[in-house]
């Protein structure tokens, strides 16, 4: 009963918070080593993170996309923290390998 009363947005955090963090760390490592530079690095990350996280939630966690508010809700959830994780990893790895 309590669960059924919750809005779709309430269902997202538990499902999707850790995964984008791990993904950001991974992408940051790869882009830092490669090195991927410039605006391309940021745009590529945004595209990869939204598409892969979306795919993960829908295909592997078997969650109905519409039930949690659609593509944008899923992409927006935890984006700030994940983006910051990506930036820190990207900058640190790039600094250690190419600076």
């Amino acid at each position: 009963m309590a669960n059924s009363q919750k809005s779709p947005k309430h269902k997202i955090p538990k499902i999707q918070f850790s995964f984008p963090q791990v993904l950001s760390l991974f992408v940051g490592l790869i882009f830092g080593f490669t090195p991927m530079t410039g605006i391309l690095g940021i745009i590529s990350y945004v595209i990869i993170s939204s598409v892969v996280a979306q795919h993960y939630v829908v295909k592997f966690q078997k969650v109905d996309e519409e039930e949690v508010g659609g593509f944008w809700e899923l992409s927006k959830e935890g984006f700030g923290a994940a983006f910051a994780t990506y930036m820190v990893t990207w900058i640190t790895v790039y600094t250690s390998t190419h600076a």
Binding site: G38, G80, A84, I91, T92, T95, A99
Partner: protein, 169 residues
């Protein structure tokens, strides 16, 4: 440069952890907060139950009663926010002082190399207190803000998840 980078990540991690710890000590662990939280939960449940019982009624007395309940709930919520805000304000002041100390330690030092060319307003942060024209040089404050963003949000998410689990368990 890498040593500075790692040191800043450690500082951000330490300060975020300390901030959350102090918040827990001053706010979440205090009896007043626990009492307010319990009161709030009780009132919310009561109101939801009443709303379900009543349904779509046109009875003015019932509606008035519900409105009164809602007002009480709002008042409790306000008290809780005020209590939290006072502690958060004190913590915020302490950490701003700490930040300015770190800022002066790293003043003029390039702590990292940015893999991108920052646009206008970001340059103000990423190149703060740095000499030279290379805008890909990164200052302490920019990296610190990014680290704090990631560490604090992760910590808050973990702590709120554990609190939810505690409450439901």
């Amino acid at each position: 440069m890498l040593a500075d980078c790692l040191l800043i990540i450690a500082i951000a991690f330490g300060t975020a952890l300390a901030g959350e710890g102090i918040t827990w000590l001053l706010v979440y662990r205090s009896d007043q907060y626990k009492r307010l939280k319990a009161d709030m939960d009780k009132k919310t449940k009561k109101l939801e139950k009443k709303k379900q019982e009543v349904g779509d009624t046109n009875d003015k007395n019932v509606k008035k009663k519900l409105e009164r309940e809602e007002e009480r709930l709002k008042a409790t919520n306000r008290d809780m926010s005020m209590f939290k805000m006072k502690s958060m304000f004190a913590i915020g002041l302490a950490f701003t002082a700490l930040l300015s100390t770190f800022n002066s330690i790293f003043e003029g030092r390039v702590v990292a190399k940015l893999p991108f060319y920052p646009i206008g307003f970001i340059q103000g942060l990423s190149h703060r207190n740095l000499t030279g024209d290379d805008m890909t040089d990164c200052s302490f404050i920019f990296l610190y803000i990014l680290c704090t963003m990631t560490v604090r949000q992760n910590l808050q998410k973990r702590s709120s998840n554990s609190m939810v689990q505690e409450n439901s368990g």
